[in-house]
């Protein structure tokens, strides 16, 4: 048996172990689950070591780049959490990480989402073809109704409550669409697995 064929057999075996959970929980499922978790964790640690620690810190440091001592120390501070006496040191590293990621995320969200999406909803409600105008009306009314629903400083009563209720319907439709896409996604994964079992493993699929 070649290494490739062995890989296919292993893949098929583990797939069946995982699928057996659909009947009920059993040792085969647990075995496959534990193997997967273990391999994923091991792969992750090895990858981070070779892909992050060695090229970004260790190699530059031993090549004489002394600035790298700063991230080395900050990285070591993170392990200070294991000792109650010096755990406060880890806050410096965590603070730096949160600061950098927050800065990047806020700028990205502001320019990519907030401004662009508000701009994208400034749509002409009249003029152009009827279908586009109709779509623009739906979009603007849905947007306003959903925003009203999420406005909690006033009780949802009367005409305000009516608009909020319309907002709920828009939200429900969007949740339905999301659920439909989720079903499609999960079915795709199942189709992919069945293709593997019938095609790559058993070779019984028609060409």
């Amino acid at each position: 048996m070649t290494a490739e064929a062995l890989g296919v057999w292993l893949g098929a075996g583990f797939t069946l172990c995982i699928l057996s959970f659909l009947y009920k929980d059993n040792p085969f499922y647990k075995f496959a689950e534990h193997v997967f978790v273990g391999i994923s964790a091991g792969y992750g640690v090895a990858l981070q070591f070779h892909n992050v620690f060695l090229p970004n810190l260790w190699r530059p440091l031993i090549a004489g780049n002394l600035v790298m001592i700063v991230p080395l120390i900050l990285g070591m501070f993170l392990f200070a959490r294991f000792s109650a006496r010096v755990s406060w040191l880890s806050r410096w590293s965590i603070g730096l990480l949160i600061g950098i990621y927050s800065g990047i995320a806020i700028i990205g969200f502001g320019s990519g989402d907030l401004v662009a999406q508000i701009h994208g909803n400034l749509l002409p409600l009249w003029g152009g073809d009827y279908l586009t105008s109709f779509n623009n009306w739906i979009l603007c009314l849905g947007l306003i109704a959903c925003l009203v629903y999420f406005f909690f400083s006033r009780e949802h009563k009367g005409s305000f409550g009516f608009v909020a209720r319309v907002g709920i319907y828009f939200l429900m439709i969007s949740f339905g669409a999301s659920f439909g896409y989720t079903v499609m996604s999960r079915m795709s994964l199942l189709i992919g697995r069945f293709y593997y079992l019938y095609g790559d493993w058993l070779h019984i699929l028609p060409q």
Partner: protein
């Protein structure tokens, strides 16, 4: 009648699993050939790549792992097919740790088909940890962010990377995304800042989140899940897993729809019957 409704109401979910299994399996053996049309977002994806002048350099960020293979691998292969056919130079990056081996397989397969050379027509720069930070860093310098390719060759020695400093040297970005980091981050960190054309192929789960980006023009095209892959394959003219899975997809959806329908019918009729009995 009541007994039947109660049986449906208390149906063991394993029966549903069995029916779904059959609904997925049977069309794989006996294809139905259900036709489908190409939607605007998919057409946009295809047209955006088609408009790029032949020989241009394109960045393809494959941000997924084997967990999303059935949905995203067909898109990757079809996109490479279209790009290699146009003689575009493809620079591949990955922001998901288990992504590079998957993309390497697709690249080698398509390179063999189109007789493309590694390092000249395409390069796999591999994975880099850092998520959004990597994107921002690539905006300053791609060679500094990815000093070597997936096999450890310095980018300074790779022909396709000559003259590539940052996003300004690329014609567009193709992102194949399974989640975070992925399309949302590419839009926020790169498209919004550098105003570069961006198209996305994503899992069906995340597609509804990205439609607003398509509506605003931040994404020039969007492939959502296996259905998007199938439509795209139709445009490119290939028969991949996306197209072959469409029958199974349709039949399984009908099965889910059927169970939702009879489940709700049984529930409401039983509730009405119980209401009458109480009166």
């Amino acid at each position: 009648m009541k007994k039947l409704l109660e049986f449906i109401n208390n149906l063991d979910r394993r029966w549903i699993f069995l029916f779904i299994g059959l609904a997925v399996s049977l069309p794989l053996f006996f294809p139905l050939g259900i036709d489908f049309t190409v939607s605007h977002p998919v057409q946009g994806f295809y047209d955006t790549i088609e408009k790029v002048p032949n020989g241009s350099k394109i960045l393809m960020s494959c941000d997924y792992d084997p967990g999303s293979l059935p949905e995203l691998y067909p898109m990757t292969v079809a996109a490479l097919e279209q790009m290699f056919r146009k003689d575009l130079k493809v620079i591949v990056t990955c922001l998901w740790p288990a992504g590079p081996p998957v993309v390497e397989r697709a690249l080698n397969h398509m390179a063999f088909e189109y007789k493309k050379e590694k390092g000249i027509d395409f390069v796999n720069l591999g994975f880099k940890e850092g998520r959004e930070v990597v994107m921002v860093s690539m905006g300053a310098s791609i060679p500094n962010t990815f000093p070597t390719d997936y096999n450890g060759t310095p980018v300074t020695q790779i022909q396709i990377m000559q003259g590539v400093t940052n996003f300004k040297d690329l014609a567009m970005i193709v992102n194949i995304s399974a989640g975070y980091p992925g399309t949302k981050e590419w839009v926020q960190q790169v498209q919004a800042r550098y105003n570069i054309d961006l198209v996305s192929g994503c899992t069906a789960v995340s597609a509804p989140e990205f439609y607003p980006y398509y509506q605003t023009g931040q994404l020039k095209g969007l492939l959502g899940g296996m259905k998007g892959a199938a439509e795209y394959e139709k445009l490119v003219g290939v028969m991949g897993l996306g197209t072959r899975g469409m029958d199974a997809q349709s039949v399984s959806h009908l099965t889910v729809f059927f169970f939702i329908l009879i489940g709700n019918l049984a529930y409401f009729v039983l509730r009405a019957l119980k209401g009458k009995e109480v009166k």
